[in-house]
C-alpha cells in the first residue's frame, strides 16, 4: 500500500495532537519527511500545504514548517440561498414582495458603494417565509449600471437573490454579521416586539465593473448560524 498525502497529514496531525510536536516546534523538511514516510516529496508537500491552509502549521521558505502556537482556526460558513435553506429544513417556502422601485441613490448608499451622484438604483424589500412563519426580511439595493437586466425584472413571484444568482455567475463579496434591535417596521414583518435582538447578515458584492448589490438580511428572532471545524 502506498503512502497517501492523507496518511501523512493524519500522522502529522496526530503527532501534533499527542504533543509529540508541541506548538512552536519545527517539523522536519519535506525531503526528510518524504524519506521517513517512504513517499515522494510532492506527497509530503500536499499534506503540509493543507495543514498550513487549515492554520495548523505555518510554513516559511528557508525557515521551515512550524506548529502554530495559536492555531489560526477559521470557521467556514456556507452562504445559503434562503429558499434552499428553508426547504432543506423540510419547511414550505413562500416569498412575498413588499416594495420594489427605482429611485435616486441615497447618500449613505452612494458612499458605501462608491456610486456617482444622481445615479438611479433599484430598491427591493421582501420577505421569506417558512411554513407560513416569517423567516427572513430582505432589504436590497441593486445597481442597474452593472446588471441592467434588473430594470426588467419584476420580483413579484421570486426574490432578487435567485434572480441575481442566475444573472451573475459569481462576484467578490464582503459579508458581515451583527446584532440589531428591531425597529417598528422589522418587528411588524418578523412578528416580534420592537427592540427585539435580531441577527443580521449584511452583504455587498462587486463585479470588476462595479458594485452589484448591497443586501441586509434580517433573520427571525432566535436565528443563529453554526458551523464545525
Amino acid at each position: 500500500m502506498t503512502v497517501t498525502f492523507k496518511d501523512v497529514k493524519a500522522d502529522l496531525l496526530d503527532q501534533i495532537a499527542q504533543g509529540v510536536m508541541p506548538p512552536g516546534s519545527l517539523l522536519p523538511n519535506e525531503t526528510d519527511l518524504a524519506a521517513r514516510y517512504g513517499c515522494a516529496r510532492a506527497t509530503v508537500n500536499r499534506a503540509m500545504r493543507e495543514l498550513a491552509e487549515e492554520g495548523i502549521v505555518e510554513r516559511k521558505r528557508k525557515a521551515g514548517t512550524r506548529v502554530r502556537s495559536a492555531p489560526i482556526r477559521q470557521a467556514r460558513f456556507a452562504i445559503p440561498v434562503v429558499r434552499e435553506e428553508i426547504e432543506a429544513q423540510g419547511a414550505d417556502y413562500r416569498y412575498s414582495l413588499i416594495q420594489h422601485r427605482k429611485q435616486d441613490v441615497p447618500d449613505w448608499l452612494r458612499a458605501r458603494l462608491s456610486l456617482r451622484r444622481g445615479q438611479k438604483i433599484v430598491h427591493v424589500v421582501c420577505m421569506h417565509w417558512a411554513d407560513g412563519v416569517p423567516y427572513q426580511h430582505e432589504d436590497r439595493w441593486i445597481n442597474p449600471e452593472v446588471v441592467p437586466g434588473v430594470l426588467r425584472a419584476s420580483f413579484a413571484t421570486s426574490g432578487p437573490n435567485e434572480w441575481l444568482l442566475a444573472e451573475v455567475p459569481f462576484s467578490n463579496a464582503e459579508i458581515s454579521f451583527m446584532a440589531i434591535e428591531a425597529d417598528q417596521d422589522l418587528a411588524d414583518h418578523l412578528d416580534c416586539a420592537p427592540g427585539t435582538a435580531l441577527f443580521r447578515t449584511e452583504r455587498t458584492t462587486w463585479l470588476p465593473d462595479g458594485p452589484i448589490t448591497l443586501v441586509r438580511l434580517t433573520h427571525r428572532q432566535g436565528h443563529r448560524i453554526t458551523t464545525r471545524y
Copy 2:
C-alpha cells in the same frame, strides 16, 4: 514562461465571469485543458481543484467539471484570540477576572457536553477591555477530566482562552453566532442598557477524550464580524 496553475485558474475564472462558461456548463476535461494551455495535467488539476474548493465549480468523476449554478460560496472567518484582536486594533488590552470556581455541573450543561452526573466543572467569568472600555464578556466552563491542569490555573492575570491555547494544541469545535438581549448582569459589565442587542459567539470544543470547554463570548454593543471572499 511556463504556464502556472494560477494562470490556468485565473483564465478559467475569467471565462466564467465573462459568461463564456455560463453556470451549469461543462468544462473540458483535464487532459484537453492541459493540451490547450500547454501544461501538464497536474497543473490543470490543481487549478480546477482549487476552483472546486472555492465553490466555483463542481467536479464529479466521469461526469466532468461544471460551473456551479448557485455557487456554494463560503465565508471563512478567522477565530481570533481576543488579546490579539484588540492589540491588532492598536488598542491597549486589559483583562479582569469576575468569577472563578469549581462546582457541580448544572443540568443544562451536562446535557450539552454529555457529561456524567455528579461531575465537577470549572466555571470562569471574565472581561476583556480595549483602551479601558469593555470589549468582551467571557463566560466559560472547562472540563477538568480532559484538561486536569485547569484545577491549578488561577486565571487571575490572564484569561482561560490563552491558557487553553497553550495547553491544548488544537481541537474540534462547534461555533455559533447569534443575537441576544443584554440581561442586567451583561448590561452592567458591557456598559449598556438592559435589553440592548448584543452579538454573541458560542463555542464548544472537544478532544477525542471528551468535551473540553463551552464558552459564551458576548461582544460589546455594535460589534460585527466581517470577511471578504
